[in-house]
């Protein structure tokens, strides 16, 4: 086990470096001068040059990358051009809200997905299976930002039950798990949960079907084991793969929240990314993407380790 974890961690290092390189290069494929956003329109050549030196844009690219990486390793992702505040602090504050949203969405999506997937796989080719499969297909095919709008139309505009936008009283910084706040979370969380729900349903359905058609299930039934206990074996065998898929989905929810956060003005990392893009705040854009991608890489690492620790077959291969 220890060897496996060590190997897996070592493998992450080049990935992390390449991710950092991609984030760094993103800013340099940008057309136009990165200073455009902060320079006054009538800025003189000298002022532009001064700022270029101040931000280090006058050095060769590899040197810039080295410096940027060195600072990033020390937790310094530069300052936001728009607000002047440190990028890392801004990003971490926003990520907290995205994590809240992702956890709520995961609770809904994974529960439903596991339930639908298990019954669809168990009662394969019956009406139960057809209903569950249809819900899953709809879940993965729906443009979730549109679903968000439709939910707002129904529950905010027409029924007036739930708020349409924002994260509750106190704004972005003061989340609490009480109804005053949670009612702001309901619609975004449901909207975020449909894709993971659909994918988990489809995965678990396929897994359950495969496992049930294996010989050992036949053997369990032949020795007279109760059906509920057979089912327990099915769950045990499906767990490693299901866990991996859910981990990946959690990562997608954290990293891909921009559309939903824009629809609901949810003050998370996605909304931050959105404003960074449109204010051409390149350090903030770079920093947000880096933090989110690293989150994703480490989540994948954790999932792999967790999967290996419950499924001994993985370590051996």
């Amino acid at each position: 086990m220890f060897v496996y974890i060590a190997r897996r961690v070592v493998y992450v290092i080049p990935i992390v470096l390449s991710v950092a390189l991609v984030c760094f290069l993103l800013v340099h494929i940008t057309p136009g001068d990165p200073l455009v956003a902060i320079l006054p329109a009538d800025a003189s050549q000298e002022l532009a040059q001064q700022l270029r030196v101040a931000y280090g844009f006058d050095r060769p690219l590899p040197v810039q990358f080295g410096l940027w990486l060195w600072r990033a390793l020390h937790g310094d992702l530069g300052a936001s051009i728009a607000t002047g505040r440190p990028v890392l602090a801004e990003v971490l504050k926003a990520v907290g809200n995205t994590v809240t949203l992702a956890i709520a969405a995961a609770a809904i999506g994974f529960t439903l997905g596991l339930f639908f997937g298990l019954i669809a796989g168990y009662f394969r080719d019956t009406w139960v299976d057809k209903v569950a499969t249809s819900i899953a297909i709809a879940g993965v095919s729906v443009p979730h930002y549109w679903l968000g709008m439709v939910l707002v139309i129904i529950f905010s505009v027409q029924l007036n039950w739930l708020p349409a936008v924002g994260a509750g009283p106190g704004g972005s910084g003061s989340w609490a798990w009480d109804w005053e706040h949670i009612k702001y979370l309901v619609l975004p969380a449901i909207t975020t949960s449909v894709i993971p729900m659909g994918i988990v349903t489809r995965t678990v359905r396929a897994l359950t079907g495969d496992i049930l058609s294996q010989d050992f299930v036949e053997a369990l039934r032949a020795k007279g084991l109760q059906e509920t206990k057979v089912f327990r074996h099915v769950i045990k065998n499906a767990a490693p793969t299901a866990l991996a898929v859910m981990g990946l989905q959690l990562g997608y929810m954290l990293g891909g929240s921009i559309l939903i956060e824009t629809v609901f003005s949810w003050p998370g990392s996605g909304l931050l990314l959105n404003s960074a893009i449109f204010q051409r705040d390149l350090p903030l854009l770079q920093g947000t993407i880096l933090v989110l991608a690293l989150f994703f890489v480490f989540l994948n690492l954790l999932v792999d380790i967790a999967q290996a620790s419950i499924d001994p077959r993985i370590k051996r291969s």
């Binding site: 080049p14 990935i15 390449s18 991710v19 991609v22 984030c23 993103l26 800013v27 494929i29 940008t30 057309p31 297909i137 709809a138 993965v140 095919s141 729906v142 443009p143 979730h144 930002y145 549109w146 679903l147 709008m149 439709v150 707002v152 139309i153 505009v157 027409q158 990562g251 997608y252 954290l254 990293g255 891909g256 921009i258 559309l259 824009t262 629809v263 990314l273 959105n274 960074a276 893009i277 449109f278 854009l285 993407i289 989110l292 991608a293 994703f296 890489v297 994948n300």
Partner: protein, 295 residues
């Protein structure tokens, strides 16, 4: 022994043997869901292509006095948008750009990814490592984040959104292509071709491509659904198409403010994206099970 083979030979071709693809074709034509989806998609495609001949209202012509009419208003069967433009015309014309920016990235990625994946899988060794490790880097980003990051860095525009989505899908298709190719690579017929002196290019083109394209194609059709949602999503954020062009994602964005006045007209463009996306998903599922001829 000889007599047995003779009778077996005589008994065997009672019916005319059908090829693999003919069988797959028959199976898919018999699948009602797939055919219904294909039909709906065909309708949306044809309507978009022949939009100028359908006697529709001008999709660009607005009017301040007939803004946000409801669905079912005479002359405006699907109402009007926030600038008084006919929704039916805009939805049908909107199909042109929406389908283009949704499907083209997958087609481009299909060619690039298949090329990279087949070469990586066949040649193996250092080239495989180089290609597949690069692919791994892109897998370290959630696809929505990657698409938005590249689009955001490149700036708004149709071309940039196509480029960014192609970059998102190339690694995924490459990975699938590489894994199928590796599976086929050591088959006897490839060995035989090599032994008979065929060069690497001929083997890849003649003997391998035909055996791997099917699986890659089905995987790529499944991606169209995601691509449609993402492409419209980029426009929805303001990173794709620019106004006044009719495009479903952008229409959804500009109509967002209208949800308090005329909610169901505001929701229409999203319903179109949903319809196309679900049809491609079901069609891809149908093709996958039609090609899986084990049972």
């Amino acid at each position: 022994m000889t007599t047995m083979t003779d009778t077996a030979l005589q008994a065997a071709p009672a019916t005319k043997a059908r090829g693999y693809w003919a069988t797959v074709g028959r199976r898919i034509v018999r699948d009602k869901v797939s055919m219904a989806c294909a039909f709906i998609l065909l309708l949306i495609f044809l309507a978009a292509i022949f939009a100028p001949y359908l006697h529709l209202a001008d999709p660009y012509q607005g009017s301040m006095i007939r803004r946000l009419r409801f669905i079912g208003t005479p002359n405006y069967p699907l109402g009007t948008d926030e600038l008084g433009r006919d929704m039916l015309a805009r939805l049908i014309y909107g199909g042109r750009l929406s389908l283009l920016i949704g499907i083209l990235p997958v087609i481009l990625a299909f060619f690039i990814g298949t090329g990279l994946g087949v070469v990586a899988g066949y040649v193996g060794g250092k080239l495989n490592t180089a290609i597949m490790r690069t692919v791994d880097v892109f897998y370290a980003f959630p696809s929505v984040l990657l698409a938005i990051a590249i689009s955001g860095a490149l700036g708004a525009g149709i071309l940039n959104s196509i480029v960014s989505l192609t970059i998102v899908f190339v690694p995924q298709i490459t990975r699938v292509a590489e894994s199928v190719t590796t599976g086929v690579r050591n088959m006897d017929y490839v060995e035989a071709a090599r032994a008979s002196g065929a060069n690497a290019f001929t083997i890849m083109r003649v003997h391998m491509l035909g055996n791997v394209l099917g699986s890659i194609f089905v995987y790529a059709t499944g991606l169209i659904s995601v691509s449609m949602i993402l492409a419209a999503g980029l426009s929805f954020l303001g990173l794709g198409t620019k106004p006044p062009e009719p495009e479903w994602g952008l229409m959804l964005n500009t109509l967002r403010t209208a949800i308090y006045v005329n909610p169901w007209v505001a929701a229409l463009p999203g319903a179109m994206i949903f319809a196309v996306s679900i049809c491609f998903n079901l069609l891809s599922d149908g093709m996958r099970s039609a090609m899986d001829i084990r049972n």
